[in-house]
């Protein structure tokens, strides 16, 4: 895998305030202070697919009962998540499971670079939280019809699957319930803008995720 220096997807990089209202840093600071107050058993970290999950009923139904925290930031790519986790968001917490969902926003990076970024995050979590299990969620398909980003995301999942297969503390879970129909299309009923999940889309993703998480938590409790 490419070294951190040569892989932009694996080089911790803070979000840039291009718009002028400092929102990225505000969110990061909030998460750092959340990590001082809370004692989550599960930490969700990633991009808007994580962030938006918190806004819908499904979070309260399935993940609040598991004592979960949500550190999702819309627009984040792997290098941004890497920076956040390196700069305080893992500071005072010791979750049993970290759910990592990121990669779709790594525009301009190859599948290999994105995999490198995800694996850098997995390694960082192992370094900072030696007892935690990292569950990497597969990057979902996107776009209404087949396109190069779907191919890229599928390749990322394949590479990550291979990379984690030898690790006892991490695995990849494919959470795509079959969003792509037989004609190659994705429905706006599942992904309202062909990228972000509707509440219905989240239900389809989260039921199996929840079951898998419960299994992991039970196993962690036995250890």
């Amino acid at each position: 895998m490419s070294s951190e220096d040569s892989n932009p997807a694996a080089t911790p990089t803070p979000g840039v305030d291009t718009q002028g209202d400092g929102r990225w840093m505000s969110l990061h600071n909030h998460f750092v202070s959340n990590s001082k107050d809370k004692e989550p058993d599960v930490l969700f970290v990633g991009d808007s697919l994580v962030q938006l999950l918190y806004q819908f009923e499904v979070w309260r139904d399935l993940f609040s009962p598991l004592h979960a925290l949500n550190f999702g930031v819309g627009g984040d790519a792997t290098q941004h998540v890497l920076w956040r986790l390196s700069n305080g968001e893992l500071g005072h917490i010791s979750p049993k499971v970290v759910v990592l969902w990121v990669g779709t926003n790594n525009h301009g990076h190859t599948a290999e670079q994105i995999c490198g970024g995800i694996m850098a995050i997995v390694q960082l979590i192992k370094d900072k939280l030696p007892k935690a299990y990292t569950l990497v969620l597969g990057v979902l398909p996107r776009g209404k019809m087949p396109n190069s980003l779907r191919e890229r995301n599928a390749q990322v999942n394949k590479l990550v699957q291979e990379a984690v297969s030898s690790l006892p503390h991490a695995s990849l879970l494919n959470v795509d319930p079959g969003f792509v129909h037989s004609d190659g299309s994705i429905s706006h009923q599942d992904l309202y803008d062909y990228l972000h999940l509707t509440p219905q889309g989240y239900q389809a993703v989260c039921q199996p995720l929840h079951a898998h998480l419960k299994g992991l938590l039970e196993k962690q409790a036995e250890n």
Partner: protein, 229 residues
């Protein structure tokens, strides 16, 4: 008022597919198709503030019963909305009310230009849909703390307040009251990323909006239900 030819915020412009999955055009195409299938009484058009509303329960509770269509696309500027309206998203429909909510993404433009862009949208709507009443929603504050974008959005609203009444059939509605607390912060309870509204945030803005819509539609929910019996 700013001349449209000189105002870049009033120039129609499609979004280029830079990422590679053509999602903007796919959404536009779907909206054009919805114009052929549906007969909305209320049309919502704008950016993610409009789009996200449809994903919360509040849409089904309050706006679906009004036969509302949602043509919001995340990231859209006034230029993008103008392009969409000129390229099929107003064909074959005759809504009684059109709600416009756009402008917070116009990062390249001054407050006056943004207001001019919104004005151009209102003008386009009243000329293409002579029976529609246009409601322009004010831009909300954004960012956790005071910042230049909050000032800019306040300035946009100020221009709109004075310009819109001069257009017939158009009014301005400020739905931003209460989001900025006395310590000048915005809470993640209302805007989960200091820009986009939570379910609670949408509930707060829905109250004044639904009151105005019902007034314009000249029916209360009870009357409407009675008329269906």
């Amino acid at each position: 008022m700013s001349g449209d030819e000189m105002n870049p915020a009033a120039v129609a412009q499609a979004v280029e597919d830079i990422q590679g999955d053509d999602r903007w055009m796919s959404q536009h195409t779907r909206f054009v198709q919805e114009c052929k299938d549906a007969e909305p009484e209320v049309l919502f058009i704008g950016d993610s503030m409009v789009q996200l509303m449809q994903q919360y329960e509040i849409w089904r509770e309050l706006f679906s019963p009004l036969h509302a269509l949602n043509f919001g696309i995340g990231g859209d500027t006034t230029c993008n909305v103008l392009w969409r309206l000129q390229n099929g998203e107003l064909d074959n429909i005759g809504p009684k009310v059109t709600v416009v909510w756009v402008g917070t993404n116009n990062h390249e433009h001054s407050a006056e230009q943004v207001a001019g862009g919104i004005l151009a949208i209102a003008q386009l709507l009243t000329s293409r849909l002579p029976k529609t009443k246009v409601v322009v929603l004010g831009l909300l504050a954004r960012g956790e703390w005071p910042n230049p974008l909050r000032e800019k959005n306040v300035a946009v609203n100020s221009f709109l307040r004075s310009w819109l009444p001069r257009l017939g059939h158009t009014q301005f509605l400020d739905v931003g009251a209460g989001f900025v607390h006395s310590d000048e912060t915005i809470s993640t309870r209302d805007m989960f990323d200091f820009l986009h509204l939570t379910a609670a945030g949408y509930r707060a803005i829905a109250k004044p909006l639904i009151d105005l819509l019902l007034q314009i539609l000249e029916e209360t929910p009870e009357e409407k239900r009675a008329s269906l019996v």
